[in-house]
Symmetry: C2
Subunit: 227 residues, 2 copies
């Protein structure tokens, strides 16, 4: 946790520091991120930095925390309107929000991604933070799906949760490669992932594969077979 002094700072100053730090930690791995570079770009003295944060790791975990909070905020902002959607619509919604986060806050997303795939000298703390904001408890979710006859009983829910996690985590990157779009295209609202047809078609196809793979209802299977 940053020191008390940091939170006494004027909002604007904190904003600058955080923006610069997010830039740095999104651009390079933890070990390569430079505090010296950050303080220089943020226009503060090295000594000041250490009045705000315990050390490099303290800043890093703070950013990771910010990232997760932002994701959670986005999730609740786009929560499906009223009552529970159908399970597959829910899975689809999760996928979309997950991608949306990556497009809206690419740097924060990258920092969270790093925490999971890269080695930091404090992997456990980082992973705990990253997972807390992970928000998608696929496992419980799928187990519920079996109880409600949405998911085929033979499906190993823990395994299926792993599959969903792996796919959802990478889908944003794939989308960019596949469509040759860049994050900027999405960023300035010129392109709404919820509306763009090409993107929606890809979402559809992915969800189709997953649904056909785990759904219980024979009509769903037949629907895909008859396509």
């Amino acid at each position: 946790m940053p020191k008390k002094t940091y939170f006494n700072l004027p909002e604007a100053k904190r904003q600058i520091i955080e923006a610069v730090a997010i830039d740095e930690f999104a651009a390079v791995p933890f070990a390569s991120a430079s505090i010296s570079a950050i303080v220089a770009r943020a226009g503060i003295a090295k000594g000041s930095f250490y009045q705000y944060f315990e050390d490099k790791k303290d800043l890093y975990l703070h950013l990771l925390d910010l990232s997760m909070k932002q994701k959670v905020a986005l999730v609740s902002q786009f929560k499906p309107s009223e009552r529970a959607l159908d399970m597959f619509d829910y899975l689809r919604w999760m996928l979309q929000v997950s991608v949306l986060f990556e497009m809206r806050y690419p740097k924060l997303a990258k920092i969270a991604y790093r925490a999971l795939v890269e080695d930091v000298p404090f992997a456990d703390e980082a992973e705990k933070l990253a997972h807390r904001g992970g928000m998608f408890y696929f496992n419980d979710f799928l187990a519920q799906g079996i109880l409600h006859d949405d998911v085929a009983t033979w499906v190993d829910t823990d395994m299926a949760a792993f599959l969903l996690g792996a796919v959802y985590n990478q889908f944003g990157r794939y989308l960019l490669k596949r469509t040759s779009l860049s994050i900027e295209d999405f960023a300035d609202g010129k392109l709404d992932i919820f509306k763009d047809q090409v993107v929606q078609d890809l979402f559809d196809n992915l969800m189709d594969i997953i649904m056909a793979g785990i759904a219980r209802d024979p009509e769903i299977r037949n629907h895909y077979f008859n396509k």
Copy 2:
């Protein structure tokens, strides 16, 4: 490419250097890997190292190359016996070999993994190397599957290839977490991933989900539905 001098070295000396270097680059990200540490542990002089390799990147790419060669070797060693398997058996075999590589050569696997997910200052070269040995051209493979009526025509093969890649790449790590087994359990042959029932069951379930998701044959779908 390492310099000529390196290849003139006695086999044993090269082995030591490579073993130590693999250790280092598997343990920490590229930027943190220390040449000084490697030469110290390998018992050679710093100057000697730079008679063998151009620079740090040269060594790293060499290791990446070794990793890919080892994977390809493992693949051909375990090539399905005689003639072509059924497409799904083939996908299953790919998954198993992919996991086997991770268990047999965890450090080499880690180095390859890093090349794909971490940022090195020469990402393009690294990715090219890693992909060349990636060996699994799911995309063409699935396209063939459609031609042969193995894969449902509505499946976006490029997308499905992404899904397979994402899942296959992570499955080894999942397997370890899920089964609470460690790499050592597999390493010394005490446990054969091709024979162990728990592991095979997980393979089965994953393949079931994928097959049910992309197969064309209605019997396959019904088979899963009737489970």
